[in-house]
């Protein structure tokens, strides 16, 4: 695997990492779903147990790999494995969960080195129905981590929103010439 052609999608269980990858992947994503138990099962039948895999195919034949991590913390060994060689990370936070800011903490801390070495974008979902915490609260929380990253309210079912996340992510990694 070419280590410099990979992006990571991570975030809260059930937030839609697989959906986000599907929105921009040129192939049907490979998934590793298993039947969900516990509180997640009330919202989703299945959950990612190993990884998701998608791909964007550039015009010159080059391939950009998109990896989705499992959301649940017990799979943090997969987070570590999947981080290797990633160019940057999309962190998706579900604003309908009980404590989205605490969720943000988990992913910012666990992917902290990757974020500092490359870049990241935060996508906050379900803000149309769950308006708090608001974006200012997320910025304040990021500030506590001494980070300045784009925080974008988004609907990851919409391709336009996912491409915007990717654009912002690339801008944080290296401000290239346009």
């Amino acid at each position: 695997m070419d280590a410099s052609r990979k992006f990571l999608f991570t975030g809260s269980p059930g937030v839609g990492k697989t959906t986000a990858i599907r929105a921009i992947s040129d192939i049907e994503p490979v998934t590793t779903e298993m039947a969900a138990s516990d509180e997640l099962a009330a919202r989703k039948e299945s959950t990612t147990a190993a990884l998701d895999f998608g791909e964007i195919r550039l015009d010159d034949g080059e391939r950009i790999r998109l990896y989705g991590t499992p959301g649940q913390r017990r799979f943090d060994f997969m987070w570590e494995l999947l981080t290797e060689g990633a160019m940057g990370v999309v962190i998706l936070v579900d604003n309908s969960r009980p404590d989205p800011l605490a969720d943000l903490d988990i992913y910012v801390e666990n992917f902290g080195q990757l974020i500092r070495d490359t870049g990241a974008v935060i996508g906050v979902t379900r803000t149309d129905r769950y308006s708090t915490p608001d974006v200012d609260a997320f910025y304040a929380r990021l500030g506590a981590h001494r980070l300045m990253l784009p925080i974008l309210e988004c609907d990851i079912r919409e391709r336009d929103d996912v491409t915007l996340l990717m654009d912002a992510l690339m801008s944080t990694i290296e401000p290239e010439s346009a």
């Binding site: 998934t31 138990s37 017990r74 060994f77």
Partner: protein
């Protein structure tokens, strides 16, 4: 080596019998774990120092990847995910839709026996769960 408190007494007693039977039949066996399909430990009998939660989650990843890889290789249902190491085996398999069984054995174990006994155990547990009222194959 304690059985998890997550199961009720009857199920616990049933699982104890399964463990006894397995450990007796497979001399090289040193750990058995039942987990939910998404990696939450249900019941285990493991050696000291083995992390139940971590192994349960890894079992889920292993089986999930095995099944996905089987499909990608145009093969049918994944029966076992087997990891053969220099000094042992890790075997994981499904029990219905919602449960997994993982077994950990030394390298001098007869692999065929290990697989066969694990399969028997899985079938026993599956049958027991089907007989339980209101439980279509999942337990926690």
């Amino acid at each position: 080596m304690a059985v998890s408190e997550k199961v009720d007494e009857k199920v616990s007693s049933f699982l104890e019998k399964q463990y006894e039977s397995l450990f007796e039949a497979v001399p090289g066996l040193y750990g058995v774990l039942f987990a939910t399909a998404d990696g939450d430990p249900v019941s285990a009998r493991l050696q000291e120092g083995m992390e139940r939660e971590r192994l349960a989650a890894m079992s889920s990843s292993l089986v999930a990847l095995g099944e996905t890889m089987a499909k990608a290789a145009d093969q049918q249902e994944c029966e076992y995910a087997i990891v053969q190491n220099s000094d042992g085996y890790v075997v994981s398999l499904r029990i219905g839709k919602h449960l997994l069984l993982s077994a950990f054995a030394r390298r001098d174990t007869n692999l065929g026996m290990l697989l066969s006994r694990c399969r028997n155990t899985a079938e026993n547990v599956s049958a027991k769960l089907k007989r339980k009222p209101g439980n279509a194959g999942g337990s926690k």
